[in-house]
């Protein structure tokens, strides 16, 4: 863990202004922000731990808890909302017995929402593991979830 985090800090020359980018790279590497990594960033960059922590909790991109294997992103942008995205989200929550922002018990899925992915023509849109699924409706949800092992 040590070396990868150091490499990331060095990539951005330890520049305080790039703190969000540094945290993002750490998040990409570990699928979440481990506490040890944040402490390492705080020490290496001479930023108080409280300030690294508050940045980590402010932005939605960051998760301080390990995420599931597959990240589900349900778009709740206005265009998708108007086409019924709320019901799609509800159905996913029911099928996975998990609320938005949480991870399933078997750690397979983390369910998040996004306020507009910019794929409005396909709304309602659900993105799973980087793949887009458009024109979603409640009756398509279960089939879709079974595609992911």
């Amino acid at each position: 863990m040590d070396e990868k985090v150091s490499a990331i800090i060095n990539k951005y020359n330890g520049d305080r202004g790039q703190l969000v980018s540094i945290l993002q790279d750490i998040q990409t590497e570990y699928l979440y922000l481990p506490k040890e990594a944040l402490i390492q960033v705080s020490e290496a960059m001479a930023i108080p731990a409280s300030q690294v922590y508050n940045v980590a909790t402010f932005f939605r991109a960051f998760s301080l808890e390990p995420r599931g294997k597959y990240l589900i992103n349900v778009c709740l942008g206005t265009a998708c909302h108007v086409r019924g995205a709320a019901r799609v989200l509800e159905k996913i929550e029911l099928s996975l017995a998990t609320k938005r922002g949480e991870t399933t018990k078997d750690r397979k899925f983390t369910l998040e929402t996004v306020n507009c992915m910019g794929a409005c023509a396909l709304g309602p849109v659900v993105k799973i593991d980087g793949e887009y699924f458009g024109q979603m409706s409640t009756d398509k949800v279960d089939n879709l979830l079974t595609k992911f092992e």
């Binding site: 506490k35 944040l38 108080p48 731990a49 409280s50 300030q51 690294v52 922590y53 508050n54 909790t57 402010f58 932005f59």
Partner: protein, 239 residues
């Protein structure tokens, strides 16, 4: 010097002063919650709002941050200011329905109950004014705590919600909190600050035997100002 008016009276001020500074220097009462002279103004509570205008167009601004301007006309108690201030207090009262400080401020503006449904009233003490965090950063210089999360869950907290490692137990946060939201207790030889989950051993005075300040705080001050080891062995009262 900059000449401008507050409530019809003319004042002269230095460039860079804020409306609030000039008002307070001249005994004009403007309520504040998130403001303290020793800390950089923040503009979070919005209680210090005033109505300003210059040639017709008027708007509401926070006096703690607005710099004095030539020819400005400031009203500290116009109907618009009052109605805004009242609603802000209603919102605070809805959040902190049992807090004495907020209740008092609200009743000064004739607010007994906020306009929201009783089942939605909350029982907080913290108004997220940020004074504790800002003091810890700007005055004490250790930044042991910060405002975490975003929006309605924003609150002052220690990193990872664990005991605040950088805290020196000085209690500045406790003293500066306007609503008593920080719970600190000195019990015998120990100081506990509950909010940041920290405990400190207090130093005993060699003369009177009283426990008077956390050892960690004294160590911090000694190191910072390069003071001799025995410097704090005797408490200020006995000195």
């Amino acid at each position: 010097m900059i000449t401008f008016k507050i409530d019809g009276r003319e004042f002269k001020a230095e460039k860079g002063q804020t409306l609030l500074q000039v008002a307070r220097e001249n005994g004009i009462d403007i309520p504040t919650l998130c403001h303290h002279e020793a800390i950089e103004p923040y503009g979070a509570c919005r209680l210090c709002i005033v109505e300003i205008s210059r040639g017709g167009h008027s708007r509401i601004v926070t006096s703690c941050l607005y710099p004095v301007e030539e020819g400005l006309e400031v009203k500290t108690g116009s109907p618009r200011v009052i109605s805004n201030r009242k609603m802000i207090l209603e919102l605070l009262l809805a959040r902190c329905s049992k807090n004495k400080v907020i209740q008092e401020l609200a009743s000064q503006m004739s607010i007994e109950q906020p306009s929201f449904k009783p089942e939605y009233l909350e029982d907080n003490d913290c108004i997220v004014c940020g004074l504790c965090v800002r003091t810890c950063e700007q005055v004490v210089g250790v930044s042991a705590i910060s405002l975490v999360n975003r929006g309605i869950t924003k609150e002052p907290a220690s990193p990872f919600l664990e005991p605040a490692i950088a805290c020196i137990g000085c209690g500045s946060c406790y003293y500066i909190c306007p609503t008593g939201a920080i719970k600190m207790e000195d019990r015998g030889d120990t100081r506990i600050i509950y909010n940041w989950k920290v405990e400190f051993k207090l130093k005993k005075c060699k003369v009177c035997g009283n426990y008077w300040a956390p050892e960690k705080q004294l160590d911090y001050i000694r190191k910072k100002w390069d003071l001799p080891e025995e410097f704090f062995d005797i408490c200020p009262t006995c000195k």
